[in-house]
């Protein structure tokens, strides 16, 4: 009787274990096109420029075994990040500075050899919009103030330290407060230090955007950031929102948004912008400082308009195709920007497939120990019972 019960309990435990192990099995999506191995990153500022240009250009070469990723970050006009993926580790970037600074014709920036370019994508930070949320509905279509055009900001020089570059700027009107962008490049796989602690590979770069001290124009104002993605043949076209059960690294956020580009009807992802839909209201945030974000659907934009706004796009692309979306920070009921006058948001831009999060060893270890120990105890107990088979002696005889 007891043995049957033991067996039944054992089977139940095995089923639970199997269930949990199966749900723990999450593999990295195999990236067939871009190798996920480490890279060597070399950074240069304003390569070949005789004098400091009006807007700094950062060029980073992330060299792999047989391919290179060129990261170009420029503050001429609207801040732009351009990624170019080539199939050789010897490709270089050539800048014609007069043409580049002129911003009238394309061709100011070329990647040589041109035939080695596999894929290129760019992200342009175009505008910062502000609206007055009188009724606390977080509906950005009404009461929009005149937007801040980021191309009109006064940008500082690019501040390099290690593999990160910091760019800060403020509006021409007031010098109070600033909008900063921090670009981080990676040589190997890892995870960000600060929330949202995005998982990155060597094929991606992390951009952290934050508003610090910018004076809002109303007490109940909220912000939106407009992003545009530019690509030659296939710009980023659709945003997928994945639900994930793992919020270890970004507490209380169970979604990941990915803005991907793919060839027509193909499942191979060529490039991506990935973010967690959360912004933080403090520089060193706690759980309560999280402000969920929403994004709008990507819509096609005029490539010519984007090229006019960003010097880097004008220089590199002949006929750019662009899509754009808005990311709005804060939902109904959340505190307004005025409460802390700080807002930070992080995104990951890269080529290939976006990185997929998995459980940390702590979670797996705890579940393994937690589920395994009772089963071991069951096993040991069952062995004890079997080896101690004795007839139960009783002093009393049962009645019939």
């Amino acid at each position: 009787m007891a043995a049957v019960e033991t067996e039944r309990i054992g089977r139940v435990c095995a089923a639970i274990c199997l269930l949990s192990v199966c749900s723990l099995c999450r593999g990295h999506t195999q990236d067939r096109q871009v190798s996920t191995r480490d890279r060597q990153v070399l950074i240069e500022l304003n390569p070949g420029s005789p004098s400091p240009p009006p807007g700094d250009l950062l060029h980073a070469r992330a060299v792999g075994d047989n391919d290179t990723l060129h990261f170009l970050f420029c503050s001429q006009g609207a801040p732009t990040l351009l990624l170019v993926h080539t199939n050789t580790s010897f490709s270089t970037v050539k800048v014609n500075w007069t043409q580049f600074n002129n911003r009238t014709h394309s061709g100011g920036l070329t990647v040589e050899p041109e035939s080695s370019i596999l894929y290129s994508t760019a992200v342009v930070f175009n505008r910062l919009l502000e609206y007055d949320d009188v009724n606390d509905t977080a509906d950005p279509t009404s009461d929009l103030f005149p937007p801040y055009d980021l191309q009109d900001f006064r940008w500082s020089r690019l501040n390099l330290s290690g593999l990160t570059a910091l760019l800060c700027g403020n509006t021409a009107a007031s010098s109070n407060g600033s909008l900063c962008l921090q670009l981080s490049l990676f040589e190997t796989e890892g995870r960000g230090q600060h929330w949202p602690r995005l998982l990155h590979t060597a094929n991606s770069s992390q951009l952290r955007v934050w508003l610090d001290g910018v004076l809002p124009r109303a007490t109940r104002s909220r912000f939106l950031l407009e992003l545009q993605s530019v690509g030659g043949a296939s710009p980023l076209s659709r945003v997928e929102v994945h639900r994930s059960i793992d919020d270890e690294f970004t507490p209380s956020i169970f979604k990941v948004s990915q803005w991907t580009s793919a060839l027509n009807n193909s499942s191979d992802v060529l490039g991506f912008v990935q973010w967690k839909p959360v912004a933080y209201r403090q520089a060193d945030p706690a759980l309560e400082d999280a402000a969920p974000c929403r994004h709008s659907e990507p819509r096609p934009q005029s490539g010519e308009a984007v090229a006019a706004v960003s010097g880097l796009i004008r220089a590199f692309y002949k006929e750019p195709e662009a899509t754009g979306l808005n990311v709005s920070f804060g939902l109904a009921g959340d505190p307004f920007y005025n409460s802390t006058k700080f807002l930070s948001w992080t995104l990951l831009v890269g080529v290939g497939s976006p990185p997929v999060d998995s459980f940390s060893p702590l979670v797996i270890g705890m579940m393994a120990v937690g589920l395994g120990t009772p089963m071991i105890l069951l096993l040991l107990g069952g062995i004890c019972v079997c080896t101690r088979k004795r007839a139960v002696a009783t002093a009393y005889e049962p009645i019939n």
Binding site: P251, P374, P398
Partner: protein
């Protein structure tokens, strides 16, 4: 029968048969007659509502979690302090609750004093919120905690005093249901109370929060009124029926702790490991459902309260089932495994949380019905008070510590790790219950005539047991049991000259024993309850 008078009963008072001798001198309307059922039903109503306020206000923080955190600028760890401070005084008080009611205050005054603590504590809590002083809120919860758990002891003592026999289980079940009703009502209406108060006050903020908590304190005032009325009715009944003031009958001797057997320590571990995965989880549940499953706040509160809603009707039914089948350890295993499955579902899947929470509600009720009576099987009667007091004391200690730990884990690592942590706690309980199963199974192989361990029994099929009171033929021992269980028989061969005590009669009458040391005949059947 000659030995009729010798029987003992923990219930303290004589059976109904005696009351007729001491009935009211003059005829009274039925509702005023303390011995009449109608009057006792009125008393029952007041007894049930006695605990309503305390359970209503216990889970106020959980129902208003977002508002408390936002209006007072707390993080989750500080929020969980509100629960920890409720549990801290009960670490010590659980030992002294029975003592204070029996020796110091008496049941009537004791109930009123504890109700007063509950009321005053909630008012201090609300005032602290009104003035935006978090330390004052913690003080309020501390005072509230002093009264809350001891009030439950007083409520049980009233029940035992007024209701005997098979009514007692029903009364306990009703009291538990009323308590759960209080929690459920709290979960579902406090949110809308807050929004309406916020509209009245102008804007949400700590003032609105304080006002909502003051409104919640009205229920505590209501409980205080019930306590006063009960005291009056009890005093009146004492005068009319000339019966004594009720006693808890608990004797607590701390030195008994060193005599506790291994199964009891395992039961303690199960208790702590299990309950710390339930109450702190419900405390943090609302925001979990909002964030992970995209529920609206009202839906999240509703699913959070489903545990209580289910346990209200399920507890009596499951209690009956556990009583009928015996084998408490197996039921505890089932309850623990089900809870583990529910937590894993909430942690690792996006399945509809209604399923997991319903499972949690059922298994929580099952465990309560199966675990607490096990203590009575494992310790002799004179240690029972100490054992229960110790069990509640470490339960409260575990709750206080784990509440704070849960808040800290959530703040730093998020909900998945919190759920994994709760799974780990339930796994500890699972380890303990598996060990308990084998320890108990292996101990049965040994001969034991001490009667202080759980016995595997066998059923005598040729005799029919009835749940009513019954007598043996020769010894005149009266065994009363008021749970609907079947009794098993032992036949004692004639060569024995004395009865071997098997167990002890307890309030929940899960087992009973013999007190006679002599007998005139040996061909009689000794009724006892054997169960696993």
């Amino acid at each position: 029968m000659a030995d009729y008078d010798e029987r003992q009963s923990l219930l303290g008072d004589e059976s109904d048969g005696r009351e007729a001798d001491r009935g009211p001198g003059r005829p009274m309307p039925a509702i005023c007659d303390p011995s009449h059922l109608l009057h006792r039903v009125v008393v029952l109503v007041f007894m049930c509502f006695l605990g309503f306020g305390s359970y209503f206000c216990y889970d106020n923080p959980a129902a208003l979690q977002t508002q408390v955190i936002r209006d007072l600028n707390l993080n989750t760890k500080e929020f969980m302090q509100l629960y920890a401070w409720y549990s801290w005084p009960n670490v010590v008080l659980c030992f002294f609750g029975g003592f204070m009611i029996d020796r110091v205050f008496g049941i009537r005054l004791g109930t009123i004093i504890f109700s007063l603590f509950v009321c005053v504590g909630q008012v201090i809590f609300a005032t602290g919120a009104w003035w935006n002083k978090f330390w004052l809120m913690e003080v309020g919860r501390f005072v509230f905690g002093i009264g809350g758990e001891s009030l439950a002891v007083a409520q049980n003592t009233y029940a035992v005093n007024w209701f005997k026999g098979k009514e007692l289980n029903l009364v306990f079940g009703l009291q538990l249901s009323m308590a759960r009703l209080g929690s459920t009502v709290n979960m579902n209406i406090m949110g809308s109370v807050y929004s309406q108060v916020a509209d009245l006050v102008g804007s949400p903020g700590h003032t609105a929060l304080g006002a909502s908590l003051m409104i919640a304190a009205v229920t505590c005032l209501f409980s205080l009124i019930c306590a006063l009325v009960l005291g009056f009715l009890d005093k009146r009944a004492e005068k009319i029926l000339h019966k004594e003031e009720g006693k808890t009958g608990e004797v607590v001797k701390l030195t008994d702790v060193k005599d506790f057997p291994l199964p009891l320590w395992l039961i303690f571990i199960i208790c702590v490991g299990y309950y710390v995965a339930i109450f702190p989880f419900i405390g943090l549940g609302q925001v979990f459902f909002i964030e992970k499953f995209n529920f609206s706040p009202a839906q999240a509160r509703a699913v959070n309260s489903i545990v209580y809603i289910i346990s209200a009707p399920a507890s009596p039914v499951l209690g009956f089932m556990v009583d009928k089948t015996g084998r408490n350890v197996i039921w505890v295993i089932i309850a623990v495994v089900t809870t583990l499955c529910a937590h894993m579902m909430l942690a690792f899947t996006f399945w509809n949380p209604w399923i997991a929470m319903s499972l949690l509600g059922l298994s929580y009720s099952l465990l309560a019905c199966a675990l607490w009576p096990m203590v009575a099987f494992v310790v002799p009667e004179h240690q029972l008070g100490t054992a229960y007091g110790f069990m509640q004391s470490i339960q409260n200690l575990g709750l206080a510590l784990i509440a704070m730990a849960a808040g800290a884990i959530l703040d730093s690592r998020g909900y998945l790790l919190l759920e994994v942590f709760f799974c780990a706690c339930v796994c500890i309980a699972l380890m303990a219950v598996v060990t308990l199963y084998f320890v108990d199974y292996l101990r049965d192989d040994d001969d034991d005539d001490e009667g202080t361990h759980i016995l595997l029994g066998f059923r005598a099929s040729s005799l029919h047991c009835s749940p009513q009171s019954y007598q043996t033929t020769a010894t005149g021992q009266d065994c009363t049991t008021d749970s609907a269980q079947c009794c098993h028989l032992w036949l004692f061969p004639p060569e024995l000259t004395h009865y071997v005590p098997i167990g002890t009669l307890t309030n929940d009458t899960s087992q009973f024993g013999l007190h006679s040391t002599s007998s005139t005949s040996h061909t009689d059947f000794i009724f006892s309850d054997i169960r696993h």
